[in-house]
Amino acid sequence: MVLDLDACIESLFQRQLLAESVIKEICEKTKELLMTESNVVHIKAPVTVVGDIHGQFYDLLEIFKIGGYCPDTNYLFLGDYVDRGLYSVETISILTCLKLRYPERVQLVRGNHESRAVTSTYGFYTECMKKYGTSDVWHYFTDLFDYLTLSVVIDNMIFCVHGGLSPSIHTIDQIKVIDRFKEIPHEGPMADLVWSDPDPGREEFAVSPRGAGYTFGSMVVEKFLHENRMDHILRAHQLCMEGFQVLFDDQLSTVWSAPNYCYRCGNLASILEIGVEGERHFNVFEAAPENERPTPAEAQRALFSNGVPAGLFSNGGSNGAGVGGGGPNGSNGAMTFAGGANGSNGGIDATQDAIHYFL
C-alpha cells in the first residue's frame, strides 16, 4: 500500500487517529528525512514560530486557523509537542505528517518532552496505551524524537531553540558537532539546549538549586549573539500568562502556544510571525472555543477506547458543551491522567461521588 500523506493529514484534521501500521511507516520515513538535517537548520523568513503545545490538539487546530495552513504558511515548531494535554497522539501525528509532506516548510525542533524518560511519566506513554492498547506507537514516536534537530537559525539573524543556551556552547559550530541521535542526556550541551532558562536578574550562568541545570543571564545572551553575529534568541519552554515574554532589551523572546495550559491555568498563548525584514509580531490567542472541542462523552471515549484506534469523533459530529475547555482552573478540566482521582466533573453540581467524601 502506498502511503497517502494527504489522506493522513486530512483524517487527522477530521480528528481520526491513524492506524498503528501507518504511524510506523510515517515514523520510519520521517527518520530518514530528519537524519539528513543538521543540528542547526538554516531557514528563511517569513515563518511562523510555535512554542509548547503539550498535546492540546484543539488549540493546535486553532493555530492553523489563525496562522494559516501548510504549505501556505511556513512553520517552525519549537518542541514539547506531547505530554500533559489529552491529545498528544493526535498532535505529534499531524506534525510528523506535515513535516514529511512539506519538509522545507515545516521545521520541528526537539523539546525536553521529546524524550522516553519524560514521556513515560508525563502522559504521552499512558495516552498511547489507552488509545492503541499497546506501547508500540509510543516506541515509534520516541524513536523518531531521537532524530529531531536541536536548533534553527532564521536568515542568519535569529537563533531558535527549545530551552536556551549552554556554557559548553559559544558558537553555532559547536552545536553542529553534537551527536544528537540519542535519548536526551541529563547533562551536557544537548541537555542544556532543551532545558535551560533565562534569568533576567543575572548576567552569567548559574546553577539551579535543584542540583542540575543552568539559568543564563544578560551577558551570556549578549556574548552569544555577538560571537555568532546574530541579533535575537527565540525559545519556548516557559509558561507565561501573556503567551509570550521579551527579555534582555529585546534580545530574547519566549513564545508559549498552549492557551489555558493543562485546561486550568487561564493563560493566553501566542505564535510569533516573523516577516521577511525580520520584524516580529506576536499573534496572541485564547483557548479554542468550547463548541469546537469534543463533548465529555467523546473525550472519555478518546481516552478509554482501548485497542481501538477510533477517531475522536467516531460517533458523529460534536455538539453541545465541551470538556477540556473550561474556565481558568475549572473544575471540569479533564486531567492528564485519566482514571486518577480527578474525574471529569466536580464543582457544586455533582456532589455525591466517592471523590467528594475525601478525608
Binding site: C240, F337, G346, T351
Partner: protein, 273 residues
C-alpha cells in the same frame, strides 16, 4: 438545614448558619504580578502560580476567618543557607561530576538557596477580626479534641464541594509539587483538607496535610496537621504486583497518601465566641 449556594463568575461557595465558605478561582499570575511576588518572597515562583485564588471560611458572629492562599504558603518555604542541599534531583551527583569534566567549575554562581521543592508547613492564614478581644480566636494545642472521622465517613448529602489548586510546579520535570485545597460542607459540619503533595522522581514522596473541621452548633474549630514522607523506592515497592510495570499509581496522590507512614502530627482547637 437552610443553606444558600453562592455562584458568580469566579467564586463559588455556600452560606449556611452563621458561616460563609468561598472558593475563588482565576488564572495564573501575570508577569508583573510574578515579578512583584518573587521580589517580595525572595524566591522564584512556581510555574503554575494561582496567586489570586483562595478558599476562605468565615464565621460572622465571632469574626473568625481562615483563608488559604498561595503566597503566604510560599513565604514559609525554607530559604536558609542549607535549604537547597536537603533534596537534590536523582541525577545531581552525575551532573556535577560530568560538569567538572567539562571544566565548568568556574560557574560557581548558584541561585540563592531556597527549598526548590516548595515544601511548606503552611496551615492557613488566620485573618480573624474579633470584635471583643484580639487574643481570642487563636488555635491552641489540644489533646482532648479531635476530628470526628466517623461522622465524615457517613454518606450525608454534600451541600457544597470544591477543589482549588493554589500552586503547582513540575520541578523541571523531576516530579511535582502541588498545594491544593478541598472542601465539603454537609448539613451537620464542614471539612477542609489543605494538602502539600511532593514527588521527586526516584527520590521521595512527601505529604503535608492540614484538616479543618467544624460541627455546626458547636463553638470549636479543630485543626489537625500532619507531615509524612517516604522514599520513592519504598513507595514504589508497595504497588501491587498485579499492576506489572504500570507506575501510574505513583501519580495518584490519594494512593500515595494511603501508603505513607505517619511521621508527625498535632491537633489544635480554636474557640468561637
Amino acid at each position: 438545614m437552610a443553606h444558600r449556594l453562592i455562584k458568580d463568575n469566579q467564586t463559588t461557595g455556600v452560606a449556611i448558619q452563621d458561616w460563609t465558605v468561598l472558593s475563588y478561582k482565576t488564572s495564573i499570575l501575570n508577569s508583573q504580578e510574578i515579578d512583584t511576588a518573587s521580589a517580595d518572597l525572595g524566591i522564584p515562583i512556581p510555574e503554575m502560580i494561582f496567586g489570586n485564588n483562595f478558599l476562605s471560611i468565615e464565621h460572622k458572629s465571632s469574626g473568625f476567618k481562615l483563608e488559604f492562599k498561595a503566597l503566604p504558603a510560599l513565604a514559609m518555604v525554607d530559604q536558609s543557607s542549607t535549604s537547597s542541599d536537603k533534596i537534590k534531583v536523582s541525577y545531581a551527583r552525575e551532573w556535577f561530576e560530568k560538569r567538572s569534566m567539562a571544566n565548568h567549575e568556574h560557574i560557581t554562581d548558584v541561585v540563592k538557596p531556597y527549598d526548590w521543592t516548595y515544601t511548606t508547613k503552611y496551615n492557613g492564614s488566620n485573618v480573624s477580626t474579633s470584635t471583643t478581644n484580639k487574643d481570642r480566636l487563636k488555635f491552641e494545642p489540644t489533646t482532648e479534641e479531635s476530628i470526628d472521622i466517623e461522622q465524615l465517613k457517613r454518606p450525608d448529602p454534600i451541600l457544597f464541594y470544591d477543589e482549588n489548586i493554589l500552586f503547582e510546579d513540575e520541578l523541571a520535570d523531576n516530579g511535582t509539587a502541588v498545594l491544593s485545597t478541598k472542601v465539603r460542607v454537609m448539613p451537620s459540619c464542614l471539612f477542609i483538607l489543605l494538602r502539600f503533595f511532593l514527588r521527586v522522581d526516584d527520590v521521595l514522596f512527601r505529604i503535608y496535610d492540614t484538616r479543618i473541621y467544624h460541627r455546626f452548633g458547636t463553638n470549636t474549630v479543630i485543626r489537625e496537621c500532619s507531615t509524612r514522607e517516604s522514599s520513592y523506592l519504598d513507595t514504589r515497592a508497595r504497588i501491587p504486583r498485579s499492576k506489572g510495570d504500570d507506575l501510574s499509581l505513583l501519580l495518584d496522590s490519594n494512593w500515595i497518601s494511603s501508603q505513607l507512614p505517619d511521621q508527625e502530627s498535632y491537633v489544635e482547637v480554636l474557640h468561637l465566641e
